[in-house]
Amino acid sequence: MAKIIAGVGCSHVPAIGAAIDLGKTGEAYWQPLFKGFEFSKRWIADEKPDVVILVYNDHASAFSLEMIPTFAIGCAAQFQPADEGWGPRPVPVVQGHPELAWHIAQATILDEFDMTIVNKMDVDHGLTVPLSLMFGQPEAWPCPVIPLAVNVVQYPPPTGNRCYQLGRAIRKAVASFDQDLKVMIFGTGGMSHQLQGPRAGLINSEFDRRFLDKLTADPDGLARLPHIEYVREAGSEGIELVMWLIMRGALEEKVHERYRFYHVPASNTAVGHIILENPR
């Protein structure tokens, strides 16, 4: 049977992708950030997941205002890196896992989560930056990736609790998949940041650290945090953090916090990173 072995929380700042693609990771500004992912790269190389379910949000790349799915699962065999206005990132094409993706789509829909099934979707920095941070710059990504896009652009996004419950449904769905697969789930975006208006540049390290503490130890409590608190405390784009609750919901109640890293700033954003392992 398939089994979720671990969850990874990780910011997905576009400037991090640009720093990697333009060979700037050694610069004084970027060095501390990339140092914070050295452990994680070794860890994931040792763990060798067979599939990654990657929860992220599309930033007006695949989904404009024509269609705005709340939860969209990528069931295609391949996903091309999107042109976000700079040309596509020079990263490998993302290989999907249609069999598991379709299984999760069907199982979660029957579990009363109304997923949108997507067979054609370019993937933007929201998906490719976490892959770069965890896997570096390989010729091909080391495993298939199932994109799970969450609307956090058009209000209202799904509640934290809805995300957390979807995570639980994904946990059940994966456990009922009839192949021996080691699965990881990434929750991406955040942490505190605001990209718009006179309040841009907001950072709240206290909120972020409390969020990470509760993610590990009190996810039920964290799931009850209303949207207004995310926006007030962590900035308008801090709302992306609801996606980390999908990752957390997909894990067991009790997890082992294997690693944590926090750094300010990457461009406009507080970068948070956490690795949570399920009991063996």
């Binding site: 206005g85 505190s192 718009q196 949207h227 207004i228 926006v231 962590a234 308008s236």
Partner: protein, 133 residues
């Protein structure tokens, strides 16, 4: 739903992209989507006004684009992730756009971020901005 949307209005310097903004800014944001193709970016750069005329936007929205007035574009229904495509077409990063929206120079803004960013304290409620100007 009214209470849900109203609550966000107390947050200073922030526009929530809700149903009202989305309806207001639909064509402005869809113009931004056209800039996702390299050849369209070239056509836009060659003659911005003519390119903008292809989209059924208000004249105010068109002028805000020509002026690169991002706060105005947001007030008129623009969403930052869409508007960032104008910035990318101009060769500007998110950080550059953010500095413009705060009225700081790019260097001042970058320094603020390196020093830990804009604190939440004093920036949670409109009442805090009114007291301190």
């Amino acid at each position: 739903m009214t209470d849900y949307s109203e609550a966000f209005k107390d947050i200073p310097g922030t526009v929530i992209f809700d149903a009202t903004q989305s309806r207001l800014g639909y064509h402005l944001n869809m113009f931004c989507m056209a800039l996702m193709k390299a050849e369209q970016r070239e056509v836009f750069k060659a003659d911005e006004r003519t390119f903008l005329a292809n989209f059924p936007m208000t004249e105010e929205q068109r002028q805000a684009v020509l002026d690169r007035d991002y706060n105005r574009m947001i007030a008129l229904g623009g969403n930052i992730y869409f508007l960032a495509k104008i910035g990318a077409t101009d060769g500007f990063s998110f950080q550059n756009l953010a500095s413009k929206m705060t009225g700081a120079s790019e260097d001042e803004y970058r320094d603020m971020m390196i020093k830990g960013g804009r604190p939440a304290k004093g920036n949670r409620s409109k009442s805090e901005w009114e007291h301190h100007g």
